[in-house]
Each structure stands twice: as C-alpha cells, then as structure tokens.
C-alpha cells in the first residue's frame, strides 16, 4: 500500500517536472567512490557481498555494502535483480545468519543522497542508486536492468 502510494507520488512528480526518463525507465547502478581503484563488478560478486558471503573486492580490499531503507522501492528492485529475493525472503535469510553469529545485514541509510555521500567518503564502500542520480563523487561499476 505504502509502496504503491510512493510510486504514484513519484509518478506524479515525474510527470510534473517532465523527468519521466528517470522514473519510467529507472535503471539502478552499483556504485563505488570515484577514488576507488575498482572499475567493474559482476552481478555474482555484488550478490555475494550483499548476502554476507564475501567481504572483499577483487584485489583483496575489504568492502562494506550499504543498503537503502527497508521500505525503499529501489532496495526491493536491487535485491530482486541481483539476488532474486523478495524483502520477506531476505529478512528470513538474515535471521539465519544473525542467530548463528555469522553476520549482520548491511548498514542502512535513509536515502540515495546519504548513500552517495557515504560511498564517496571511502574506497571500501559500495552502494546502489538510480542511474539518474549519478554525479562526479561516485562511479558506476555495474548497471542493473
């Protein structure tokens, strides 16, 4: 319900500003800091990092994944595309890891702006945003469709 209202709201906003491209054709990109040596990641690598199976980037640098808030539409799309899992499936997945001490889910941020800021601040952080939200502080390493 909340999700559909949100989509509706952004749809209205998009139409109003004539920015439909970023909403109707929303494309997510996985990002790292502009200063990071990483240039490309595969879907499998990103999935392993976000599911707590791997904590390193190719080359050996430790990596910390960042999530959008639990109810963010882009977060649901991200996990559906990368891991093929629904929000409820993911909560069940993480409860398996939490209650065996194997790991904690990725740190959450409120919105894409906060995500960009955090990712830009260090070379060991990865996140995901809408392609339209890209700027010089971060660089895309994987496009998701």
């Amino acid at each position: 319900m909340r999700l559909s209202i949100r989509i509706l709201r952004s749809g209205i906003a998009g139409a109003a500003f004539g920015l439909c491209a970023s909403i109707c054709d929303a494309q997510l990109v996985v990002i790292v800091s502009a200063n990071s040596p990483v240039t490309a990641l595969s879907e499998n690598q990103v999935a392993d990092i976000y599911l707590g199976r791997s904590s390193r980037l190719p080359g050996g640098t430790e990596v910390q994944p960042i999530d959008l808030a639990d109810d963010a539409a882009n977060r649901a799309s991200f996990y559906r595309i990368v891991c093929g899992k629904s929000p409820a499936q993911l909560r069940s997945y993480w409860s398996k890891l939490i209650f065996t001490g194997e790991g904690q889910p990725p740190r959450e941020v409120a919105d894409a702006e906060a995500m960009k800021k955090l990712v830009a601040s260090g070379t060991h952080v990865i996140g995901y945003i809408d392609k339209a939200q890209l700027d010089a502080s971060v660089k895309p390493v994987l496009a998701l469709r």
């Binding site: 595969s42 392993d48 199976r53 899992k85 499936q89 909560r91 939490i98 209650f99």
Partner: protein
C-alpha cells in the same frame, strides 16, 4: 528460581566464556556501545492439536509432554523465545551469547544457555571460536529454533530428532573459499555435550564430539554435507559410539523453493539406528508461502541395550506461511503421521489402550517473530 541453566561438566567453562565476554565488553570503550553490541531475538507462539488421544505427539526431543494424551491443545511444544547478544570488539574479535527458553525435559521453561562463544577472525574467511558452539549437524540445525527462518512450524522431527543435540562445548574453526561464483565453507568442530533425554532422569553425556561439515553456496543453491561422531554415556552404559552422515540441498528461488535432506545416524546400543530424510516444496505467492513436506525415519533394526520401540515414523504435511507484517509470520500446518507396525515412533507418554503402529492427525498454528 535456583535451577541450574544446564547440568553438565562444561558449565564452568562456558560460564567463564560468558564472563570473559562481559569483561571484554566493559573493558571496551563505553562511548560506542551502539556499534559494539547488537541485541537480537526470536520467538514462536505455537498451538498444537493431535487427534490421537492415547499418546502425546512430540514435535521436538527433550519435551516431557505433547498434544494428544496429556494436553488437548498444547501451547508448550512449539513455543519458544530466544535472545542473543553479539559484541564486536574489533573487526577480528567478537563474542556471542544466546539464551533460549523452551519447554524443558523437567516441564519448566527455565532459560538455557544455548550458545556462548568468542570468535577470532584471522582473516574475513578464516575464524576460530571457543566456548559453547552450535552443532551444524543438519542444514538448518544452526537456526532450528528460529521459526521465522524456517518454512515449517517445526523442523521435521523424523530427521532432526535423530540427532537432537544443538550445541557442544569446545572449539571450532571454519574456512571460506571463493571459487569463481561458488562459496565453499569447510567447518571443523571438537567438543563435548551433556543433555537430558526424556524421561528426565536419563542424562546422556557425549564426549569427543568431532564434526566435519562442508557448505556450498552458489546463487540460490545451498548444499550441506556433514559427518559427526561422538561417544555417548548413559547411566547404564558408557562409551557407546555415535556416528552420523548427512547430505542436504536447498534451492531458494524468487517464486518457489525446494529443500531436501537425508541422514544416517547410529548410536550403538541406544537406538536401532535410523536413516531419515525429508523433502519440502513451496511456492511464493505474494505474502503467502504454501508448502508440502514428506518426511521419513526408517529403523535399521540394530541391537539395543534397553528397550527402544521407536522403529520409525513417516509424515506427510502441508501448510502455509503468511508474512503478514515486517518481522512476523503466521503459519498453519497439517501433518498426517504414520508409524510402522511394532513402532511407537516419536510418540511418548503412551496410555493404556495405545497400540504400536498408531498414527495421528496434527494441526498446528504458529506465530513467529524476530527483532
């Protein structure tokens, strides 16, 4: 209540691990308590009905009563609550304490110290733990009590009751390898354990527990192989060899899942030995997850020292999980249970009039939550 957490020789040892955890915690800076500690919890409120009134249907080992003979609707068997405190002192050193309250062999809900260990990660992929550690005997052993993490109202007892011990006091190590897109984790464990089998006074001690496990993860596929051995001692015999081999796989897709396990367990002189297994298939339809399960425990008919009439059990189940709110689910499950002739199966508290080879219909409703 002054009842001990659990009466076992490793108690002092585990307690010192718990104290060491607290000491390390207080020695760490108090300013970043938020990032240092993580408190999590889980629980299930279950109600179970069994149509056979001459014996109790037991959903889990170690529980003194069940639905059927002792209770018309049993709220104890499938209910539990657990709290876990994780402390991350540095990126390499962490500790975990988990306390669980469920129906105990002595008909109390006295919390037991399920796990308490200190974890040192030499690298992000190689770690060693000391303390009370979970025994990853089967695919979901690590979280068998976390209803929210499992598809059913309870783990299939036909398989899981073959090796119902959940922890061991000792050490373990695990090493994670990345081979292309495959993650492979090798896990070795050594320790000892003690527990009360039902009926209560029978205390079983397991010494020299050694386990080797391998877990393979590739996208939605998860496979688990295990070997476990130990020596069990009971009041009437000691050093009885116990051995278990297990294999399991699950495929967790966006719109469906399938999960199956098989194991062979022998406890010389204590049980006739069993081969058990199950297969579950489920669909994901919006917030609903309907599923069906078929589970078997087959007796190997080996010689036993004292009477053990569990010569196997079978069950066919269907149910549905409803993820009605964030971090909550509601499940309803129906089980049709059969036992072969001359077997009491997993029934207990048999009343006059109970016949070997009986079956029952079980209906369970469960509310699971995590926080």
């Amino acid at each position: 209540m002054s009842r001990p957490f659990i009466s076992c020789p490793g108690r002092a040892f585990v307690r010192s691990v718990a104290f060491a955890t607290l000491f390390l915690a207080s020695a760490s800076q108090a300013s970043n308590l938020d990032s240092l500690f993580t408190l999590s919890g889980f629980g299930t409120l279950g109600a179970t009905y069994s149509s056979l009134h001459t014996a109790d249907y037991a959903g889990a080992a170690f529980e003194p009563y069940g639905a059927g003979a002792s209770r018309n609707i049993d709220f104890a068997d499938d209910s539990r609550v657990g709290v876990q405190l994780t402390a991350r002192f540095t990126s390499q050193l962490s500790a975990l304490v988990q306390v669980v309250s469920h129906s105990n062999y002595d008909n109390t809900f006295t919390p037991t110290l399920e796990w308490a260990n200190i974890d040192y990660a030499f690298t992000p992929d190689l770690n060693v733990r000391v303390g009370r550690i979970e025994l990853p005997t089967f695919l979901t052993s690590d979280y068998r009590e976390v209803g929210y993490a499992n598809p059913w109202v309870r783990v299939p007892p036909e398989l899981y009751d073959m090796a119902p011990i959940t922890n061991s006091d000792g050490v373990d190590g695990s090493y994670r390898m990345h081979i292309g897109a495959v993650t492979n984790t090798v896990h070795l464990i050594y320790g000892k354990s003690a527990f009360h089998a039902v009926p209560g006074p029978i205390r079983v001690q397991a010494q020299g527990i050694f386990g080797a496990f391998d877990t393979i993860e590739y996208r939605a596929l998860n496979a688990h192989f295990g070997y476990l051995r130990a020596h069990a001692s009971v009041p009437f015999a000691s050093d009885l060899p116990v051995a278990l081999y297990s294999a399991a796989a699950s495929l967790d897709m966006e719109h469906w899942f399938v999960q199956a396990e098989i194991a062979r367990a022998t406890a010389e002189g204590l049980t006739p030995g069993y081969i058990g297994g199950y297969a579950t298939v489920g669909l994901r339809v919006g917030k609903l997850t309907p599923y069906v399960t078929y589970a078997v425990e087959h007796s190997l008919g080996r010689r036993v020292l004292s009477e053990n009439l569990n010569n196997g059990q079978r069950a066919a189940s269907c149910g549905v999980r409803w993820d009605f709110a964030k971090n909550f689910d509601l499940k309803v499950q129906y089980d049709r249970v059969w036992t072969p002739a001359e077997s009491v199966g997993l029934f207990m508290n048999e009343q006059p009039g109970f016949r070997l080879g009986s079956g029952t219909n079980v209906v369970t409703a469960a509310l699971d939550f995590v926080f």
